[in-house]
């Protein structure tokens, strides 16, 4: 072997050795399954409570039907009135799947306190919420092609309203739209292909904002919400915009969820542990009061 060949052999050895490798690994499943309860009461609407079980992190059980807590006894009571909820489901036309939940029969009323009791797998979970948040009035909605917040740069809308003074208030965005299967998700589900609805077959979707806004340091003042929207749009598409006034428990719980999402997707943010609002289970039982809706028309196509 001449000198040149020896050098090449050495370089080849080095190159074959030094490299970064990504190896799939498996973790032992060490999860003690918890009951997950998510219930939001809206005045004038019957309760819909999502009750499921948590699954091991790497489990392949992923659809709402697979994790639904069947056989739970669920009641919501206020004063001497008790509503026994029953299993039901709704078809999600965008995701093409059934989403089961427990449905009540009595509409929630503003100003009342409700107690949720869930008995499942030999355990009972109990928690309460009061619907006493103040409704706000949307003063303006302006489209923006680009704005920056802590999450990065987005398109969306800027909503203005005035906070009620004297209390700590929490808000989040909601927009109801009627779309067809040509409308894509603008974020993580942008690759999803809707095959369960036909062309031009319309169905409703609810866009709920990820950010919880508070009136901290802005009590009674004019507030501005910069909103990143969930679904893509074209010029002249319409949506009905609401502001949800949340109770403290719901606000804190959904803020935890949003912070956790931020940590899941942004590798530079520390993991967020969800603080449950229901003793013994994980989840929240809260309420929201909706503002009057305002029609919003997109002035341009999705960028």
């Amino acid at each position: 072997m001449n000198c040149k060949k020896r050098i090449w052999l050495f370089v080849a050895c080095f190159m074959s050795g030094a490299c970064k490798k990504d190896i799939s690994i498996r973790f032992p499943e060490q999860h003690n399954s918890l009951v997950f309860i998510e219930g939001m009461l809206y005045p004038g609407k019957v309760p819909a409570i999502n009750i499921s079980t948590s699954n091991p992190f790497f489990s392949s059980k992923i659809t709402p039907q697979q994790v639904f807590a069947r056989g739970a006894v669920v009641t919501i009571s206020t004063g001497s009135v008790m509503d026994v909820l029953e299993p039901d489901s709704a078809f999600n036309n965008f995701r093409c799947r059934w989403e089961p939940f427990y449905r009540g029969h009595i509409e929630a009323e503003y100003g009342k306190t409700y107690t949720l009791e869930v008995s499942y797998a030999g355990k009972t979970y109990k928690t309460s919420t009061s619907i006493d948040q103040k409704k706000v009035t949307i003063e303006s909605i302006v489209y923006t092609a680009e704005f920056f917040d802590v999450y990065g740069g987005h398109d969306g809308m800027i909503i203005k309203f005035t906070d009620h003074p004297g209390s700590k208030d929490y808000y989040r965005f909601q927009m109801n739209r009627i779309i067809d299967n040509s409308v894509k998700h603008a974020h993580v589900l942008d690759g999803f292909v809707n095959t369960c609805t036909g062309a031009n077959e319309l169905f409703p979707v609810k866009d709920i904002g990820r950010i919880i806004f508070t009136d901290e340091n802005a009590d009674g003042q004019k507030m501005t919400m910069s909103i990143e929207v969930t679904y893509e749009y074209e010029k002249d598409d319409e949506g009905w915009v609401f502001i949800q006034s949340l109770d403290k428990n719901a606000a804190e719980f959904y803020k935890d969820l949003d912070d956790q999402l931020q940590a899941i997707y942004n590798p530079f943010v520390e993991p967020v542990f969800i603080n449950s609002k229901i003793p013994g289970a994980i989840g929240v039982f809260g309420s929201a009061v909706l503002s009057d809706s305002v029609l919003f028309v997109y002035p341009r196509d999705h960028p």
């Binding site: 060490q30 399954s33 997707y265 943010v269 967020v272 542990f273 969800i274 994980i282 960028p303």
Partner: protein, 763 residues
């Protein structure tokens, strides 16, 4: 005012000594290069007392006057020297010691070897032999001080292959790394795969991890003192090496023979050539680093010695992968030190230093469609003076004062990458500068109370001021030693330490995103209390040293980023930090063979470290990220012949802790931008990476050859890193399928079996 008086007390004792006693002082130096021999032992054969040479090779001790006195000088790797001197008046000596490597034939050692590791009232102190650093196998043939430090008891490495080290449950920032007294905030090249210290320019390396004497402060866990060579005062000398990653050269010689000298050492990478060959399609990489050490010294008479040293290291890197990780970074350290040694009479040695250091790091990273920008800079201006006073044979008193002005510039940001790709940039000029001052006074005494019992006790009083807040503390320090026999002793120590600068670690990102911040009104100084107990025993005429140390350490005001806190420009970093405490305890066993054909050590550490933060992990205790129950290192060098030396390292440690969600839940009422799948965490750092182990080999061939009728030494070093190609974990990340939302875990392993070769020369 009282403090100042105390600190200058030693001056008051520099009066003429009693006629019954004389003081022997002097410098211990290498015979050939006249390099100071830091830590050389000096033993009074008549009175069976002794001392050790300080960082400048200086020693001083007082003995009863006698007609003659026999002094024995020892230093590892050097011929033991016995000197008979007339001892009827104070004497200032210059002792020249001969390197065993320069001796012809077999070396026969007749005098007793030093047992100072047993008999000195200090514990948790390890002098790292430069010979070991030069012999032990390392990655790609690059010799490295920090990699050797990681093999010592009580010390462990961080991520695979990196030079960061963690001591007795402390975080990275709790180690004070000093090069000629100047703080080096980031002693790494190549993301920590190599340290910035060029072995050829280093004279002495000492790690202190417990029982801190009063002169040391400012960090909770360890002090790593690296002393540069002074330069050969007798003749010009050049040495260097050509490796796979870098080339280095060191030139030294006299400016005025036996009076002053210089040393310049430089290293520069040529990794880009390898990266070009190794790079995959869709990937582009570039990496450049260099470092330069320079030092001059001048002996202005017998009592004054001046030193000027300089260090600069710099790294620039970029890595672009079309699919996942991208980064660009620049970081660099610069330090400058001016020192003046002065001898007052024969009993008081002083060192006055003026030090400047400048560190900055800029990092831009993107991963999973998110990007992070980080800039952190620390500038320090330091003035300090230290006195060592030896009034009697039984006492060695040290006192001093230090003042440091810190200027920190932290800024960071992370967000999703905008659709138009225009990322924000940090304007370093507009970053708010955080100025603070740190001062410290100390007074300590090493007192040999009897032949069996000695004690090193002292007090340090640090003071820290930042706008609107001043902190001051009293730090008592005490280490005691009780001799069981001349070759065995029991030692105990108590140390209280405070730390005013904090490096806030990020536990999730695969790349370093740590940032330095000063103490403030909200971010209180870190504090620790450490107790240690040890048994020390030497065997076979002190050629085998063994020790067993146990320790317990409490750490307060520890800092971490809060859950979900996101780095943002113009946001007060204090608002992103959470505070807690830590606790570490463990046992360390060390067996070291210093001499003979076979040298090396076995080090085993059992330890447990936990942290508790009110705002993390539901307020419950959790394991420290680098809580590793078992850490074992075995190193061995065997001199087969005059030409060949074989060396090997085996390292094992329990996997480090990290956080993995244990469950998932699916919501129907949360924000719809994401799918609504969330994680359940049952505990922070609840999982363990797989254990780390690797075996390295190296063989070096040294030969003296002739070139142009002149002799020079040449050395080939062949090495294999991670001989059985263990896929040690670098970090874990999760891939989440957007549609099915099912997560999969992936482990990144960085360094499989890697052969290495380097060529070194000296003439």
């Amino acid at each position: 005012m009282k403090i100042i008086i105390v600190s200058i007390l030693p001056f008051l004792f520099t009066l003429p000594s009693s006629s019954q006693k004389i003081t022997i002082s002097g410098y211990v130096k290498d015979e050939t290069s006249r390099e100071a021999m830091v830590g050389a032992s000096v033993i009074d054969g008549n009175n069976k007392t002794g001392t050790t040479a300080n960082q400048y090779g200086f020693f001083s001790f007082t003995v009863p006057a006698a007609d003659t006195i026999e002094l024995i000088f020892t230093y590892q790797g050097y011929e033991i020297q016995a000197k008979k001197i007339v001892a009827n008046k104070n004497i200032l000596l210059e002792v020249l010691m001969q390197n065993q490597a320069n001796l012809l034939g077999e070396v026969i050692v007749s005098a007793a070897r030093s047992n100072r590791n047993v008999q000195k009232p200090q514990m948790g102190v390890i002098d790292v032999p430069i010979k070991a650093i030069k012999n032990l196998p390392v990655l790609l043939g690059e010799r490295d001080i920090m990699k050797i430090i990681q093999l010592l008891p009580g010390v462990q490495g961080g991520q695979e292959g990196t030079t960061g080290f963690y001591v007795r449950g402390g975080n990275l920032d709790q180690n004070l790394v000093q090069l000629d007294e100047a703080t080096v905030y980031n002693p790494n090249h190549l993301f920590g795969l190599f340290s910035t210290f060029n072995v050829n320019a280093v004279n002495h390396v000492q790690l202190i991890k417990g029982g801190f004497p009063a002169e040391y402060g400012g960090r909770l866990s360890s002090i790593l003192n690296i002393t540069m060579k002074e330069g050969n005062k007798s003749e010009y000398q050049a040495e260097g090496g050509i490796g796979l990653l870098s080339n280095n050269i060191t030139i030294q010689g006299p400016l005025k023979k036996n009076k002053s000298s210089f040393i310049v050492s430089a290293r520069r990478s040529h990794i880009n050539l390898l990266l070009l060959a190794y790079g995959k399609p869709k990937e582009s990489m570039s990496y450049k680093f260099y470092d330069v050490n320079a030092k001059m010294n001048f002996e202005a008479g017998k009592r004054d010695h001046l030193f000027l040293s300089f260090f600069k290291g710099n790294d620039n890197a970029a890595y672009n992968n079309a699919n996942s990780l991208n980064y660009t970074t620049h970081f660099g350290n610069s330090t400058g030190t001016f020192r003046w040694n002065h001898l007052f009479g024969s009993k008081t040695f002083s060192n006055t230093s003026f030090i400047y250091n400048d560190y900055d790091l800029a990092l831009s990273t993107s991963q999973n469609n998110y990007y992070s920008l980080l800039f952190t800079a620390v500038k320090d201006f330091t003035a300090k003076t230290d006195f060592t006073f030896t009034p009697t044979p039984k006492h060695k008193i040290k006192s001093g004062f230090a003042f440091i002005h810190h200027r920190l510039s932290p800024a960071s940001f992370s967000a999703s990458i905008p659709r138009n790709g225009n990322k924000l940039k940090i304007n370093t000029d507009s970053i708010h500068k955080l100025n603070s001052n740190e001062m410290a006074f100390y007074l300590g005494d090493e007192w040999e109370a009897s032949t069996k019992f000695s004690i090193n006790y002292g007090i340090r009083i640090p003071l820290f001021t930042s706008p609107g807040k001043t902190y001051s503390f009293i730090e008592p320090r005490i280490t005691t030693k009780l001799s069981v026999s001349p070759s065995s002793s029991i030692k105990a120590s108590y140390t209280r330490m405070n730390q005013f600068l904090h490096l806030i670690p990020n536990s999730t990102a695969g790349l370093p995103t740590d940032i330095w911040v000063p103490s403030s009104e909200k971010t209180k100084p870190q504090a620790s209390t450490q107790f240690a107990l040890g048994y020390f025993q030497n065997f076979k005429d002190n050629t085998i040293e063994t020790s067993l140390e146990v320790y317990y350490k409490n750490m307060d005001n520890q800092v971490l980023f809060g859950e979900g806190k996101q780095l943002r420009i113009n946001v007060d970093l204090d608002s992103l930090i959470v505070y807690g405490k830590g606790k570490s305890y463990g046992a360390e066993i060390f067996v070291k063979k210093n001499t003979g054909k076979l040298t090396g050590w076995i080090s085993y550490t059992w330890s447990k470290t936990t942290q508790q933060f009110k705002d993390l992990n539901f307020g419950n205790k959790f394991p420290f990220r680098y809580d590793r129950r078992h850490v074992l290192s075995v190193t061995a060098s065997y001199q087969v012949s005059k030409k060949w030396t074989l060396s090997s390292v085996f390292a094992f440690s329990t996997g480090s802790a990290f956080t993995v969600p244990t469950g998932r839940i699916s919501t129907l009422n949360s924000g719809t931008i994401f799918e609504g799948n969330y994680y359940i965490y049952e505990g922070r750092n609840n999982y363990r990476l797989s254990s780390y182990h690797r075996l390295d080999f190296s063989a070096s061939n040294k030969k003296t050859v002739k070139l142009f009728k002149k002799e020079y030494e040449r050395e080939w070093v062949f090495g294999v890193y991670n001989a059985y190609s263990r896929q040690n974990p670098y970090f874990i990340y999760f891939e989440i399928d957007a549609l099915t939302t099912q997560p999969k875990a992936k482990q990144v392993s960085l360094l499989p079996v890697i052969p290495g070769i380097s060529f070194n020369f000296k003439f």
